[in-house]
């Protein structure tokens, strides 16, 4: 290993930084007593896996950055070194304590001030587990950094199909990468319901090919150039690694920095415990040896039927109804207890007849008599439930929170915890829901897909091809223009201009324009007050729009469109005045908008039995008579 290392970084040793705190409230109430780093993952503290991974990966010095529960972490690390834990043999671990840091970004700024890192280093977000070989990736990062001086970070992603359990639905991302693996676009979708993703066009035009990835999960491991720390210091609004990536991509020119990515495949696993759902997923994957050689310290007799793993000194009276769960050390479980898809931490006592499904029960709890705990409930450390309760989708802690509602007091040592912050917006509720344990596999995915199939066509029009609705939109726009024009007495030339511009906006054909404009004008006539004045008002309306009509009715086709518009309006408005059709036709004919031939030709295409034909007939009869009369005159 050390020979390899020397190739990588001449004399320097390979360093890693692990930030131990999540700074979030994902793991309340348990995280108020135990730091995430010490969460048991199949009965072994999480941090042990992380450190093991780093030492397997060839790291020689690790800085563990803690901001809370520092004593517990420190003593755990010291104990590990004393006991000769595997990682302590090849790797030096330094615990850095800084209780003043309130975010991931603060930690890195603090590190920058301390100036203890030399050269490139590996950066791990809290709760990371992996079996990726880091040295080749560091080497690659250094090669890139030699070519591209701005290369600040290489993010490591793992290929992972949609719907995989280890893919955190809160961290869904779309990444666009060019052929040299430089990230051009990184968009964290999270729980957003957006149906479209907008890429800047220039990334496609500036690169001959761009890979769009939606098959990745973030391993929360990054290889950083030394420039990362000063970048965090210079931009104090960078709170998380995501802020960093986003900020760098957005201000690429200003900051002169670039981000690369490395995509691992196959049995290279990487993932992080970022919420309870991921806790469950990572536990499963660990249990099924996906992260080999990282393994839980389970002896053969710890593994029971139905996917149950138990710790040391566990007493179970009957285990028939315990399925897919992890039971910590020294847990007592009474008779007829059902436990399903749940995690019970150490030193907890569960009495007879209790039902626990899809929930986490912290250490040192006592659950008495027939309580039911379900739907992603989390029970904090030391909670005692005396009476019979139904606890559903609730966080419970042992100490009384501030401003506690008396209703939320369940027992002497059990209080319902309300996570502060508004939950009224949909995204937050959803992300809350999805950060719970998996209730049932795949359900959220499916509902997601259904949402897509609903209004497909709208969804699909990702190029500006005309959609059928455009004509309708055009029509409403024309009506709006004309009504406003009529009321405000705008000049018709302006209206024509307006109509034409909407025509181009909606990409409507000439004939559709004719049809819709006439239809719009006729529609307006229906809104006039009925009564004796009706027709005189109608004439005023039509005369007002005469320039518009003249502009659009230019040839025989347009005349036909006009007649069709008349037909359309008359048929779709049953209660139109009996003489309306006759009047309209006569007006258009008298003013020479429509020629006789066209009317006669058109009337032949009508259904002779329809009510509309009956309204037209008198007019055409009159026309024919007039024609005969005039032709006989000529004779």
């Amino acid at each position: 290993m050390s020979v390899k290392t020397k190739e990588v970084l001449k004399d320097d040793i390979v360093q890693a930084v692990v930030v131990a705190d999540t700074f979030g409230d994902e793991f309340l109430p348990i995280s108020s007593d135990i730091p995430l780093a010490l969460f048991p993952l199949i009965n072994k503290p999480l941090i042990d896996y992380t450190l093991e991974f780093l030492s397997f990966g060839g790291i020689e010095e690790t800085f563990l950055f803690c901001c809370s529960h520092t004593e517990a972490i420190k003593s755990h690390i010291n104990q590990g070194i004393k006991d000769g834990a595997e990682w302590s043999l090849t790797m030096k671990v330094n615990v850095i304590v800084s209780e003043s840091c309130h975010s991931f970004g603060d930690c890195l700024r603090d590190l920058d001030r301390k100036g203890i890192l030399r050269g490139s280093f590996v950066l791990l977000e809290p709760g990371t587990l992996s079996n990726i070989k880091l040295l080749p990736i560091i080497r690659k990062h250094n090669e890139i950094a030699n070519k591209d001086k701005g290369a600040a970070m290489t993010l490591i992603f793992q290929e992972s199909g949609i719907g995989q359990m280890g893919r955190d639905p809160n961290e869904e991302a779309v990444v666009a990468v060019n052929s040299s693996n430089r990230i051009l676009f990184h968009r964290k979708m999270g729980q957003s319901r957006e149906r479209k993703i907008e890429f800047p066009l220039e990334i496609f035009l500036d690169n001959s090919s761009v890979s769009l990835h939606h098959n990745l999960k973030d391993t929360h491991i990054a290889i950083c150039s030394p420039s990362v720390l000063p970048l965090f210091s210079d931009n104090f609004d960078f709170q998380t690694k995501d802020d960093f990536v986003k900020g760098l991509l957005m201000n690429e020119e200003i900051l002169g920095s670039t981000v690369y990515c490395h995509i691992t495949k196959g049995n290279n696993y990487g993932g992080a415990v970022t919420d309870w759902r991921m806790y469950q997923a990572v536990s499963r994957e660990l249990q099924n040896k996906w992260i080999y050689p990282l393994q839980p310290s389970v002896l053969r007799n710890n593994i029971q039927k139905n996917g149950v793993i138990v710790g040391k000194g566990v007493h179970i009276k009957d285990n028939k109804k315990i399925i897919n769960s992890v039971i910590g050390d020294n847990v007592h479980i009474g008779e007829n207890v059902q436990i399903r898809d749940s995690f019970i931490f150490s030193n907890t006592k569960i009495n007879d007849g209790v039902i626990v499904t899809h929930s986490v029960i912290g250490p040192n709890c006592e659950i008495k008599s027939k309580t039911k705990i379900t739907v992603g409930s989390i029970i904090g450390k030391g909670v005692t439930l005396e009476k019979e309760h139904l606890i559903e989708d609730t966080l419970v802690q042992a100490t009384e929170p501030e401003n506690c509602d008396p209703k939320d007091k369940l027992d002497k040592k059990a209080f319902r915890l309300k996570v502060t912050g508004t939950e009224d917006d949909l995204g937050k509720i959803l992300s809350k829901k999805l950060s719970r344990l998996h209730i049932e596999d795949n359900r959220p995915e499916e509902s997601d897909d259904d949402a897509f199939s609903d209004s497909e066509d709208e969804e699909l029009s990702y190029t500006q091809s005309p959609v059928p609705d455009d004509t309708k939109l055009f029509f409403t726009e024309v009506i709006d223009s004309l009504t406003r024009g009529f009321e405000d007495e705008l000049r018709c030339e302006h209206l024509i201009l307006e109509i034409n511009s909407s025509r181009y906006a909606y990409n409507v054909t000439v004939r559709e324009v004719n049809f819709n404009v006439i239809k719009a004008i006729l529609h307006m006539s229906l809104r006039l007050s009925t009564g004796p004045q009706y027709f005189s008002q109608f004439v005023r309306l039509l005369s007002y729009f005469a320039p518009v009509l003249k502009n659009y009715i230019r040839n025989d086709d347009a005349m036909l469109d006009t007649l069709q518009a008349v037909e359309d309006v008359a048929i779709s408005n049953e209660n139109v005045n009996e003489k309306w059709v006759m009047f309209v036709l006569k007006w258009f004919y008298d003013k020479d908008y429509i020629s006789e031939d066209v009317i006669l030709e058109w009337s032949k295409t009508l259904d002779a039995k329809s009510r509309f034909y009956a309204q037209v007939k008198p007019f055409t009869d009159w026309l024919e008579e007039a024609e005969e009369a005039s032709s006989s005159d000529e004779d």
Binding site: I162, I197, E198, E202, F204, S209, S211, N215, L460
Partner: protein
Amino acid sequence: MTLQAEFQAVVLAAGKGSRMPEITSGKPKCLLPVGTKPLVWYPLYKLQQSGFTDVILVVLEQQKSEIQSVLDKTELEIKIEYFPISGKEDLGTADSLRMLHDRLKSDVLVVSCDLVSDVSLKGVLDVFRMHDASVASLFFHSQGGDGLVVPGPKSKHKPERDLVGIDVQTNRLVFLASASDFESELSLPRALLKKHTHIKMYSNLVDSHIYVLKNWVVKYLNSQQSFSTIKGELLPHIVKKQLSKPPKVTEGKSVLSNFDSEDIFNFAKEDEFSIAIRETSSFNDHSGDFRGTYHGDSIRCYAVVAPKDCYGVRVNTLPSYWTVNNKVNEKWDKITNGLSLALKHPKIENKSSQVDDKCVIWEGAKLNEKTSFKNSVIGSNTEVHSFSRVFNSIVMNNVTIKEKVALENCIVSDGATIESGCQIKGCLIGSNHTVPEQSEHSQEVLTDTDRLMEF
């Protein structure tokens, strides 16, 4: 009774060459000389080589006889069936295909007349067969200009760029649009990325205009009057429709009463046996999710990207025409797969002693004494008088070049006359144009202006 062919080949040669009106005003685009052959010969020969015995050649009515007489002399073995269409309306490629629809009984291979390439058709046909695809199309890597100076006024040539999205795992063509359709952002539906989780988006590919279409696509095209081009409308539409699902037939409603009898899914129906075979097979075209083979799509478009070392040019702009003429003889062996190249037609009258071995001389050309030729194409029945020289130029048919003319880097169209003593560099000379005596021009378009106005 003959067996129905697996594919019917259609070569579209009714284009007017509107992107290079300077040289196509008096001549069908498909007859532009490219090296020793007219342009349309190249796709026809490609088809012949790939084993096609018949081809339908779509031509403009008024150009049919001219094209036919030229092609009759080229000794192609493939049987050409001419399909003349009227040139009055401005017809697009899809319009041409729509007119042909009742002649097309099999799946269709559509090739444009302006393709000069050494790529084999086998690749794209095999992908089509393998996946029982709806559409398969072939793309080239952009060849890039060689820094050649193109005749005519200096203009910055901006190639039209397409955005082509290809699923990396399956080679499905999942996105196709022209880059100019977008302003600053390209928005993709999330469903597309969920379905095809790794898409490679190319912006430097050249569409070869080789499309293999399932027969139903032609039928569908026939029902959709609004599509006028294959590349611009039909193909993007079908590519997009891959993401849609067939309309659900509600129970109790007969399919006939279904409003959308023109719905694409009524055309794209697969037969039950194919579906049954696919469902019982363990084959799946992709991994990473639990969806069935092809995601259950009945519309499937595929893209084949020719290897980087393949040569392929669409001769539809002046720069591409100019470069192809400079390259074609060099690539001849690969393009024709070993056909012997006769640069100089046996029936020429050559009295010149200075014709270098890069020159192509067509039938009936007359080169007088004391003329000099370098790296040029001299069209049939063209006459060059004494004391003239022609360097790096393309001179088409029936051109007369008088005495003491110096031509360099020019394209001279059919029937032009260049009077004596002219010095012309880097010019485009339109058909039947006469360049007066002793004129000097450089980097210009010389043409009777009214001819150009036709376009």
